[in-house]
């Protein structure tokens, strides 16, 4: 299991009702293709950063969609924006655009 630096003591569940889905809503609006993800992992397989560190773009965007923002916030800036993920995604998701949108949302918040 990836260690994000802290543990959730209360519950292991994704508390969907309590989570803040603001970022998810923002990204869904900004990057409509993001909804097409099926989590195949093509992006995270090819990712230069992902092969060297725990940065995992597939997981980050899944966590974002579930509102688990604390778990990936610190990871976003590890992305080099090289666009390889964008070039392999079989679903035509603008993966790079999603990262940019997440960074933008976090900054504005």
């Amino acid at each position: 299991m990836v260690n994000f630096g802290f543990t959730i003591s209360v519950t292991r569940a994704v508390e969907y009702d309590k989570n803040d889905k603001g970022c998810a809503e923002y990204v869904a609006l900004r990057v409509p293709s993001s909804s097409a993800c099926i989590g195949c992992g093509g992006c995270s397989a090819t990712c230069t950063a992902g092969n060297l560190t725990e940065f995992n773009i597939r997981k980050i965007q899944m966590l974002m969609k579930r509102g688990e923002n604390q778990l990936y916030k610190e990871q976003l800036h590890k992305c080099m924006l090289c666009g390889k993920c964008l070039t392999v995604c079989p679903r035509g998701v603008d993966t790079r655009g999603m990262i940019l949108a997440m960074i933008e949302y976090m900054r504005e918040k």
């Binding site: 080099m80 090289c82 964008l86 070039t87 035509g92």
Partner: protein
């Protein structure tokens, strides 16, 4: 200064004079203010440039571009002629008119309005040196302007007549000013014609029309109000210029001087996000001609008509809220290539992209340290001239055929090479830079520089034009940087490769970052000419299209990228080539989305097959 009883004075000169003076004062103050904002280095450049060849070059450029409109002429003769009629025509009208009036007065120092309204002040029967020739010339020039005006009217009705699929949607204010501008010359024509009927001057044009008017109209009553109208239209036009697109007329000329004196664009915005220095001159130099519209593939393939430079710069100039047009641009440079005023369109947009990078020591600490890259083995004999480091680039790893071909070529040429990112490298940083994140890009740049220098190589060869541009322009590497196209060209030139020419008909798609971006146009032509038959298209060299894959655009979706690719390919393949050749892994990947019968190959693949 004005003798109110002078025969060379009439009250109608006032509108013109007031307009002219106001405009002059306005632009002088404005330009001085802008130049005052220049940094010291640029101000020194102006001082040094004043008495340099740059000044002469500028005069030449103003004549060729601002008056003759040579660049537009080259692309589109009809449109060029139209612009020349206004630019050169009006300039000649002023110069020849001034010459004529000065000769008549035998003095160069006349009031500014005198030559403008010369034919009014010229008494009947007056004779002077060259009067017939001047009369003829002035009529000819006026006719030229009127013919340009005629085309301009046609263009409004049917823009394809001048080869433009789209023309700029101008603001109501600009349309008003244009209306005033368009009224100036017909009014002058009418005023001179009527005057000619009274005083008998004028030549083939105004004299004939004057006689015609005299036969059916009370010319004596009409001529005086027409001179008033002419002066008013001039004066109003001058007063309206500052808020209109016609600010480009004076600004463009100053911009040309500054450019030739070597003043550099400051690529950063001011502390409050405001434009600084030369960028202001550039923004005001845009004439909103709309040539960029037809160049933009976001318009031609995606039907997006709002982000093009003409609209973008208008928003920048008027300082209205910019939406996604800052980021919704392929930065392919097709607009910049044809911009008649030579505005740094990409740079002006780039500087608006904000740097949001958050880089701490931790951020990129995951990138492995140098110990993992082993320095190149030296001392062994090889026939290649220099030690080479090869960098495939991120996207290169998705096009293994390009890598295999390059390795093949290195081996056949007997070149000892070190494959820097064989096991996977790190990004060159340009995609970060293109999205505004300069600080983060700098970190990656430093890491790459260390790796490249550690190889001990003397030439860095890359397969990716994006990396290439970055290595060449941003990295300041102590070694030579070449794109594989250039490198293959060099190998062929020094006879290291034994090429067999084939019969394949090849169309070359020059990647944006390579052709327009780095000026590599001839090397691919030479290489392809040696391996096959080049099929010329209208998109050769710097006129190449964008594949749609550009990482500089952070707005369009992958599906839209596919649409741009499909359109570009169908334009490339209309001459039915055997193969479309490119030199960029990203172009290759983006074109691969499109189902079409012609294979897309990299230039290195074709060469590797034939050597």
């Amino acid at each position: 200064m004005f003798t109110f009883t002078s025969p060379n004075y009439e009250p109608f000169v006032w509108p013109f004079s007031i307009g002219m003076a106001t405009l002059l004062i306005y632009i002088t103050i404005k330009y001085i203010k802008w130049i005052y904002e220049f940094d010291k280095a640029n101000r020194i450049k102006i001082l040094k440039g004043l008495f340099s060849l740059g000044t002469l070059r500028s005069v030449k450029e103003i004549f060729l571009e601002s008056l003759v409109h040579r660049k537009i002429y080259r692309e589109n003769p009809m449109l060029g002629y139209m612009h020349m009629c206004f630019g050169l025509g009006w300039a000649l009208l002023i110069i020849v008119g001034h010459l004529e009036s000065s000769i008549y007065q035998a003095s160069w120092a006349n009031t500014p309005y005198y030559s403008i309204f010369f034919y009014y002040f010229l008494p009947a029967g007056a004779e002077y040196w060259g009067d017939e020739v001047f009369g003829f010339l002035m009529d000819l020039i006026l006719l030229m302007i009127l013919s340009g005006l005629f085309i301009a009217w046609g263009k409004r009705l049917y823009s394809r007549m001048v080869g433009m699929k789209k023309t700029t949607k101008q603001r109501p204010y600009d349309r008003l000013v244009k209306g005033v501008l368009w009224s100036i010359f017909p009014l002058r024509f009418l005023a001179e014609s009527m005057q000619s009927a009274i005083t008998g001057h004028g030549s083939f044009l105004t004299h004939s029309t004057g006689e015609f008017f005299a036969s059916c109209l009370p010319v004596e009553t009409l001529s005086y109000p027409l001179w008033w109208a002419y002066s008013l239209s001039l004066g109003i036009f001058f007063l309206l210029i500052p808020g209109s697109r016609y600010m480009h007329i004076p600004t463009e000329m100053v911009y040309i001087f500054l450019k030739n004196w070597g003043v550099k664009l400051d690529v950063k915005l001011g502390p409050n996000g405001e434009l600084r220095g030369l960028s202001k001159f550039e923004v005001y130099s845009c004439s909103r001609c709309g040539i960029c519209l037809n160049q933009c593939q976001l318009l031609t393939s995606l039907n997006n008509e709002s982000i093009q430079p003409v609209y973008f710069l208008r928003k920048v100039r008027e300082d209205v809220e910019r939406g996604n047009e800052i980021n919704n641009c392929l930065m392919c440079g097709r607009c910049e290539e044809l911009c008649p005023v030579d505005i740094d369109l990409n740079a002006l947009r780039m500087m608006q992209r904000q740097d949001h990078s958050v880089v701490t020591d931790e951020t990129y600490s995951y990138i492995p340290s140098l110990s993992k890259t082993s320095p190149i083995k030296t001392g062994e004999e090889y026939s290649g001239c220099r030690k080479v480091a090869y960098f495939a680039g991120c996207m290169g790893h998705l096009t293994p055929r390009v890598i295999a071909s390059m390795c093949n070529i290195f081996n056949k040429a007997g070149v000892e090479y070190h494959f820097i990112d064989e096991g996977g490298g790190i990004c060159c940083g340009r995609p970060l830079r293109l999205s505004g994140n300069r600080a983060a890009a700098d970190v990656l740049m430093q890491k790459n520089i260390e790796r490249i220098v550690a190889t001990g190589a003397e030439i860095l060869v890359t397969s990716c034009p994006i990396c290439y541009k970055s290595f060449k322009e941003e990295y300041e590497l102590p070694i030579m940087v070449m794109h594989h196209t250039e490198y293959i060209d060099m190998l062929m030139h020094c006879g290291a490769l034994n090429i067999r020419k084939g019969k394949e008909r090849l169309v070359f798609h020059n990647p944006c970052e390579l052709g327009r971006g780095c000026n590599i146009v001839e090397a691919p032509q030479r290489v392809l000419g040696a391996v096959g038959e080049i099929v010329a298209t209208e998109f050769d060299g710097k006129a190449s299209l964008c594949c749609g894959g550009s990482l500089a655009n952070t707005v369009i979706s992958p599906i839209e990228r596919g649409r741009i690719a499909a359109d570009a390919l169908s334009r490339y393949t209309c001459s039915d080539p055997d193969c479309v050749v490119t030199a960029c892994p990203l172009c290759k990947k983006n074109f691969a989305k499109v189902k079409q019968p012609v294979p897309i190959r990299d230039i290195s693949e074709i060469v590797a097959e034939r050597c």
